[in-house]
């Protein structure tokens, strides 16, 4: 038996946000990131129940260094194809999809700023400010399909408009095996006018 209700994607809770690292960043030692996350825990520098730091920098195409929190994980990858900061929500949050996504984006940006302000990383770590990737780790409610994108587009528009009023480009690739991801870039057209590529 499957649900006959539509708009399941709007119920997705495991939201993900990724900020790409600026490719012009200098070399950053793994140990510096590990230490920065530990300092965040000591200082209670994020509005999270912060638990521990897990270093997976030895794992190919892995999550890098992970700040494990109760509500979400923050992982920073320095190497590989997609260096950046990834926020992955784990516990349910309140509000509608747009509100939850908005909170996730804000949390990611806060963590990015906290890392950029860390004494060991200051001046070394920068993030691309003209694009952001958002999505959901929920293959049940939000599979990586064009239908999910259609369903979530109004909420994505709301969040994108707050980031870059006036125009956003959207990049989406349907993939039956992957988790749902959309890349939003600062652009010239409102997100609602951009056709959806299946």
């Amino acid at each position: 038996m499957t649900s006959t209700l539509e708009n399941d994607a709007l119920f997705a809770q495991r939201l993900a946000v990724r900020l790409s690292a600026d490719p012009t960043c200098g070399a950053i030692a793994v140990g510096s990131v590990v230490a920065a996350f530990h300092r965040l825990i000591q200082a209670r520098g994020l509005d999270e129940v912060m638990i521990d730091v897990a270093d997976y920098s030895h794992v190919p195409d892995g999550p890098g260094i992970v700040l494990v929190c109760h509500g979400a994980n923050y992982s920073l990858t320095l190497r590989g194809q997609r260096p950046g900061l990834l926020y992955q929500r784990k516990r349910p949050n309140e509000g509608d999809f747009a509100a939850r996504l908005d909170r996730a984006v804000r949390a990611t940006v806060r963590a990015a700023r906290a890392l950029q302000d860390d004494p060991e990383l200051r001046g070394k770590l920068r993030f691309v400010e003209t694009e952001i990737e958002v999505g959901a780790n929920d293959r049940l409610l939000a599979p990586c399909t064009a239908e999910t994108l259609t369903e979530l587009r109004p909420a994505l528009t709301t969040v994108a408009e707050r980031l870059w009023p006036g125009g956003v480009e959207l990049d989406f690739q349907a993939d039956a095996r992957a988790a749902f991801r959309v890349r939003l870039k600062r652009g010239a057209r409102p997100i609602t006018e951009i056709p959806c590529k299946p």
């Binding site: 209700l5 638990i51 892995g62 293959r139």
Partner: protein, 777 residues
């Protein structure tokens, strides 16, 4: 309401498996409501592989002070275990055998519920870390839909049954142990005779006597393939184990015919459940029973037990189709358009010849002429990671996983590779790697290219740089020192320079504490995490354990030689291996070299590395590898390896309560007949549980349960309540009349209330039985 995994996968999960997960979900709900006692819930979740993790008492030392982590106030999920603290989910992988479809799903659940990493353990299981307990039922459903269970991955039960990862393709095996190990794993899974152990019970199958793949003799039960007069059988060893005091298993029987293997395991389980230590958890493993009784007496008891077992078709049914699990692509994909080498293609090539050996060979990857040349690093990878199978034209390739970790993306890529280039399956190994079997040799360049793209083509598998490690302080509550951190540091140091041939095949294994999950006793160089106090501060150290030998299914255990500060361990290993390379005699093993040189002499060579500089001189010694916090052992917690001691009767009574809870849910939904039926089943479960207090031989047939309940418990007065006599017993004995759609609401409610009273009476009865037993003892 949105769709759920339960709805989505309802028709894809085998009924008993789905039912068990539903029961676990109900137990979570009952624990939330305070209706399931902590200890019982704790062992229940452990038996479903839901394990605790470091900091789950809600406290963590942040390098300056111990902080309360600030989890929401909720019920506990075990002693000092905060509900919301993330935990570990162990996934049972019998024989380490995984299909491509299973790998895909494990990658998905790792990504969605965990930190995106699947971790291969030293017993061929997989583990996901940082999982929230509320997510575990859906996680289990998704695994169950592809035939994977987490049941009995932890707790005082038969743990994952392991086997040589090369079984079926190995050059040296007596025969393929795959079907036997598989049958044993599923026969004992949830078996009533294996539910009342004082501690865990580990089983391993080995295809040969001399190998080191299966480590059969460090298991509670090690079965080694052998033949007698053309008949297949097993040499069976009992009572092995590592831990603080390692013990090599003792020979129970030189030859157990194949058809007798499962009844023997069952009989051993019954003897262990009956006579094994239950109170002192430190002495409850089978090895202590072997020590106290002697292997001869234990063998006699097992033989006696075997005689009284009731025949079970499952003992031998599987023998009729031993090829059922064959992953030979020639038989698995007979109609496939791919081209698989055939057994009559005798491979005449020299295995050391590197001169384009693939040019004309057949393979699954397509036309040889269209293939690209081998990628960079191919030769080194082939030399270390590839072995020929006994089937001509095929090889096995090892995917070296650093610390046993693989990320979700590469795991999916590996699944795809297994689909395209092999017989669809892989095996995890005790060395925390994954092997791809049945690779047509002609496809090796293609395999290497695809593994390289996925970041999985690291060479030097199963060499000294491929260090095995338990999770240690990263996630384990018992970890003393960072085993993973030091393992990586050792690998990096040794890989930085060319290694002498004599050193390359040595093995390093690291355990973060004396419980020895990293199997340090059986390595050439083992490391055991300890701590030392220096000038009032703690310093992480590792005991260097030398002289272990994993050959012959573990020939000998190593002994501690010196405690080295963690930060000096890589240098110490390098010095030891240099010493071995320079001073060994021709053909001398590392264990023999250490024996000849003498431990004191070896220790003397390390003397300068044993000293710890003062904190002011070198503060880095006072923190551990990969963790900049000042080192402390205050984060250690109470382990869950020993599980909770919960009797089969208590489990049965808990199951009855879950059924009664489900009956109430059905009642609230207006499904009155079903509610009454489930309520009656709850009473049957409670009666069955009580009958188990005196015998594990309890029927599953309702009429027989009722009959036995009457004769053994009611007529004997055992169930008689001092105040109300046999009143509650009558609720079970009378015709239940449930299932009828026209069941009146009032009547159904009455049945629910009676059921609760009956279960309460069963609890009271069990209390009286236990008290009586205690008095008798």
């Amino acid at each position: 309401m949105a769709a759920t995994w339960k709805e989505r996968l309802n028709d894809q999960i085998d009924e008993p498996l789905g039912r068990e997960i539903d029961v676990f979900e109900a137990q979570i709900e009952l624990r939330w409501q305070g209706k399931l006692e902590e200890r019982l819930f704790s062992e229940s979740r452990l038996r479903r592989g839901v394990y605790g993790q470091r900091y789950d008492n809600g406290l963590r030392h942040d390098g300056q002070r111990t902080q309360r982590l600030g989890f929401p106030e909720r019920p506990t999920k075990g002693a000092n275990t905060v509900w919301d603290a993330p935990g570990m989910q162990r996934i049972k992988i019998p024989l380490g055998r995984l299909t491509a479809e299973q790998m895909d799903v494990i990658a998905d659940v790792a990504e969605e519920y965990s930190d995106g990493i699947a971790h291969v353990t030293t017993r061929q299981d997989l583990q996901l870390h940082y999982v929230h307990i509320d997510d575990t039922p859906d996680l289990m459903r998704r695994l169950a839909a592809v035939g994977v269970t987490t049941r009995e991955a932890c707790g005082n039960v038969v743990r994952n049954v392991t086997a040589c990862p090369l079984s079926g393709v190995c050059q040296d095996e007596v025969f393929d142990v795959t079907p036997y190990a598989h049958a044993c794993a599923y026969f004992m899974l949830g078996h009533p005779d294996a539910q009342d152990f004082g501690r865990k019970f580990k089983i391993a199958f080995s295809g040969c006597r001399h190998g080191s793949c299966a480590l059969a003799r460090i298991h509670d039960l090690g079965a080694i393939a052998t033949e007698r007069d053309g008949q297949r059988g097993f040499e069976v060893h009992l009572g092995g184990g590592l831990g603080a005091v390692p013990q090599q298993a003792k020979l129970l029987d030189e030859f157990v015919p194949e058809a007798e293997m499962l009844p023997l395991v069952q009989a051993i389980g019954r003897v262990f459940a009956r006579l094994g230590e239950k109170k002192n958890r430190q002495r409850a493993r089978l090895k202590f029973l072997v020590s106290s009784l002697g292997i001869g007496e234990l063998a006699r008891l097992v033989r006696e037990e075997r005689k009284v077992l009731r025949d079970d078709r499952r003992w031998t049914d599987y023998l009729e189709n031993l090829q059922a699990l064959d992953d030979d692509p020639r038989s698995a994909f007979p109609q496939d358009e791919r081209t698989w080498p055939t057994s009559d293609q005798t491979d005449q090539s020299d295995p050391t010849d590197r001169s384009d050996p693939y040019r004309d060979r057949q393979g699954a990857a397509g036309d040889p002429a269209a293939r690209e040349p081998a990628a960079e690093g191919f030769d080194a990878w082939r030399a270390s990671n590839v072995v020929r199978q006994r089937q001509p034209g095929y090889v096995t390739a090892t995917v070296r996983l650093p610390l046993g970790d693989i990320a979700a993306g590469p795991l999916r890529a590996l699944a795809e590779i297994a689909r395209d280039l092999t017989g669809d399956t892989v095996r995890t190994t005790a060395e925390q790697n994954i092997v791809l079997r049945w690779v047509p040799e002609a496809d090796l360049p293609e395999l290497h290219r695809r593994l390289s793209r996925a970041g999985l083509a690291a060479p030097a598998a199963s060499t000294i740089v491929d260090v095995t490690s338990c999770p240690g302080t990263q996630t384990c509550k018992l970890g003393i020192s960072s085993s993973r951190g030091v393992a990586l540091a050792i690998g990096e140091r040794l890989e930085a320079k060319p290694l002498p041939d004599a050193v390359r095949p040595l093995r390093v294994k690291v355990s973060g504490c004396f419980n020895a999950c990293g199997q340090h006793h059986v390595a050439d160089i083992g490391l055991l995490g300890v701590s030392r106090s220096v000038e009032g501060r703690r310093v992480p150290h590792f005991q260097i354990v030398l002289g272990g030998d994993a050959k012959d299914n573990v020939a000998s255990f190593g002994l501690a030689t010196a405690a080295v500060p963690s930060k000096n361990v890589p240098a110490a290993i390098e010095r030891l291996t240099d010493l071995f390379a320079k001073e060994r005699h021709e053909g001398e093993s590392f264990a023999a070299f250490v024996q000849r040189a003498g431990k004191n002499a070896v220790r003397h060579r390390l003397e300068d590395l044993l000293r710890v500089p003062s904190y002011e001189q070198e503060p880095s010694y006072y923190s551990d590898w990969g963790d900049p916090r000042e080192y402390t052992i205050t984060d250690m917690g109470e382990g869950e390896c020993a599980g909770e001691l919960v009797t089969a009767t208590k489990f049965g009574l808990a199951a009855a309560e879950v059924a009664a809870y489900e009956a109430q849910t059905l009642f609230e939904r207006g499904e009155l007949g079903l509610a009454a039926g489930r309520a009656h089943e709850a009473m049957l479960l409670a009666a069955q549980a009580l009958l188990r207090a005196d015998s594990s031989e309890v029927s599953e047939v309702p009429e027989e349960i009722v009959r036995e309940f009457r004769t053994r418990l009611l007529d004997t007065g055992v169930f008689q309540d001092p105040h109300v006599g046999d009143k509650f017993a009558q609720y079970l004995l009378r015709p239940n009349g449930a299932g009828s759609e026209s069941f009146a609401r009032e009547k159904a409610q009455e049945r629910l209330e009676e059921t609760m009273l009956f279960i309460e009476a069963a609890h009271a009865c069990y209390h009286r039985i236990s008290a009586q037993k205690a008095r008798e003892q």
